[in-house]
Amino acid sequence: MAGVERPARQSPAFQPQPWRDRRMALILGNVLRAGVLLSAAVVLCGGCIYLSRHAHEPASYRVFRGEPSEFRTIRGVIRSAMNGRGRGLIQLGLLLLIATPIARVAFSVAGFAIERDRMYVGFTLIVLAILLYSLFGSSMGV
C-alpha cells in the first residue's frame, strides 16, 4: 500500500488531486474487480452446463444468423438462466459484465456529489444516461 502514502509528500506548490479522489478511485477499482470476478464465475458455470450438454455437436460460426430473443433481451436472458440453461447463464454473466462499468459510473455520481462537484456530477450523469440507453433503450424495442 506504499502508493497510498505518496500524496502526503506533495509540496504545497503543486495542485494535487484531492485526497478523496484517490479514495474514490480505489473504491471504484474494487467495484470493477468484484463485478468482473462475479461475472466470470457465472459465465464459467454456464459454460460447464453448456459443454456437458452440447460437447459433441458440431460447432460452426461461419454463417451469421443472429441470436434468438432468449439470448439477446434482458428478460429473455434472465428467463433462460432461471430455467438452468447453460447458454442463458453465460449471457447472464455477460450482462453482469456489461453492468460492471455502468455500476462504476453510478458510484462516481455519488462520489462527485460528496465532493460537491456539481459540474462533474452533471458530466457523470450524461455518461450514465448514454450507458443506460444502450443497455435498455436499444433492447426494449426488439
Binding site: 470493477l32 459454460g47 459433441h56 443472429g66 455477460l94 459484465l97 455502468i102 459510473v105 444502450s134
Partner: protein, 278 residues
C-alpha cells in the same frame, strides 16, 4: 470441429492473446477478431461481439491494479467518456449497417496503424506547459507520483482531444476493440497528458466505452454465448497472468514479435476485405 474442440482451441488462443496483449501493453482484443475470423472462420460480427465482451473484462480487471498506483485521473476520464460513449453508440449502430467486407478493410487499416504506432518511439513528455483556461475550468490538471516525487501537469487542447476521443469510441463500437492506439493519439499528442497518466486513464475508460456498444451488440444478437464464453474467460485469465509476470519479463523483443503479428493480420484483413472474401 465439435463444440468441445472448438471451445478448447478458442480458449487457448484467447489466453495467449490476452497474455501477449497484457505483456506488451498493446491489448489482446486487437488480434482476437482477425484470429477468430481468419483462423476459425467465425463470421466477423460474432467475432466482434465476443471481442467486445472480453475488452470490458480485461479493462475492468486491470483498472483495480492501476488505480492503486495513483496515475489515473478520474476527471479527465469521466469528461472524455462523454465523447467515447457517444462515439461507441454511433459505431455500434453503424456496425449493424456496414457490410462485413468494409468492416474488414477498416479493421485492417486500424491494425496497420497500431503496428506502426507500436514501433514508433514514445514522444518525450513535455514539462511545464502553461495552464489552458478550458482545462483549468474543467479541473483536469493534476499531479502524479514520479521517481523524484509528485509531478504536476497541465492539460492542453481539450476540444481536439474530445473530438479524437469521439472517433476512438466510434472505432471501438464499430470493431469491438479497445482502440487504445487512437486514445493515445488523443491524450498524448493532443492533450499533452504525461504517458503514465494517459495509459492508465485510457485503460479506465475502455471498459465504460465498450459497455456502451456492448448493449447494442447484445440486443442485436451479435453476442453468441458459445463463442463469447471461451473468448472472455481465456483473455481474462491470460491478461491476469500477464499483469503478474509483467515486471520480470523482457518485453522489448516480445513487443517486436507481437507488432509483426499485428502487421501480418492487418494485411490479411485488408486483403480479405478488398477481395470480398470475408
Amino acid at each position: 470441429m465439435t463444440v468441445l474442440e472448438f471451445t478448447t482451441v478458442v480458449a487457448i488462443v484467447s489466453f495467449v492473446a490476452g497474455l501477449l496483449g497484457s505483456l506488451t501493453g498493446l491489448g489482446g482484443g486487437v488480434v482476437l477478431v482477425p484470429l477468430l475470423t481468419l483462423l476459425f472462420h467465425v463470421d466477423l460480427r460474432y467475432a466482434i461481439g465476443a471481442s467486445l465482451v472480453s475488452v470490458i473484462a480485461t479493462s475492468s480487471g486491470a483498472a483495480a491494479a492501476y488505480v492503486k498506483e495513483g496515475f489515473s485521473n478520474i476527471r479527465i476520464g469521466m469528461f472524455l467518456e462523454i465523447a467515447t460513449t457517444l462515439g461507441a453508440l454511433l459505431g455500434a449502430f453503424l456496425a449493424t449497417r456496414i457490410p462485413t467486407s468494409i468492416l474488414a478493410v477498416i479493421f485492417g487499416a486500424m491494425l496497420l496503424y497500431s503496428a506502426f504506432l507500436s514501433r514508433k518511439p514514445r514522444p518525450l513528455d513535455q514539462r511545464n506547459l502553461p495552464p489552458d483556461p478550458l482545462a483549468t475550468r474543467l479541473r483536469m490538471n493534476g499531479s502524479f507520483p514520479d521517481l523524484v516525487g509528485p509531478r504536476s501537469y497541465n492539460v492542453q487542447h481539450v476540444p481536439a482531444g474530445f473530438s479524437l476521443m469521439f472517433g476512438a469510441g466510434a472505432l471501438s463500437g464499430l470493431l469491438g476493440i479497445g482502440s487504445g492506439a487512437v486514445k493515445v493519439l488523443a491524450m498524448d499528442q493532443a492533450m499533452r497528458i504525461p504517458f503514465k497518466v494517459s495509459t492508465t486513464t485510457s485503460n479506465f475508460m475502455i471498459g465504460v466505452t465498450a459497455a456502451a456498444s456492448a448493449g447494442v451488440y447484445l440486443s442485436r444478437g451479435y453476442v453468441d454465448p458459445g463463442l463469447a464464453m471461451p473468448v472472455m474467460l481465456g483473455v481474462l485469465a491470460g491478461s491476469f497472468l500477464g499483469s503478474r509476470i509483467l515486471v520480470k519479463a523482457e518485453t522489448k523483443s516480445l513487443r517486436l514479435v507481437f507488432s509483426l503479428v499485428i502487421l501480418v493480420l492487418g494485411l490479411q484483413m485488408l486483403y480479405k476485405g478488398l477481395w470480398g472474401k470475408i
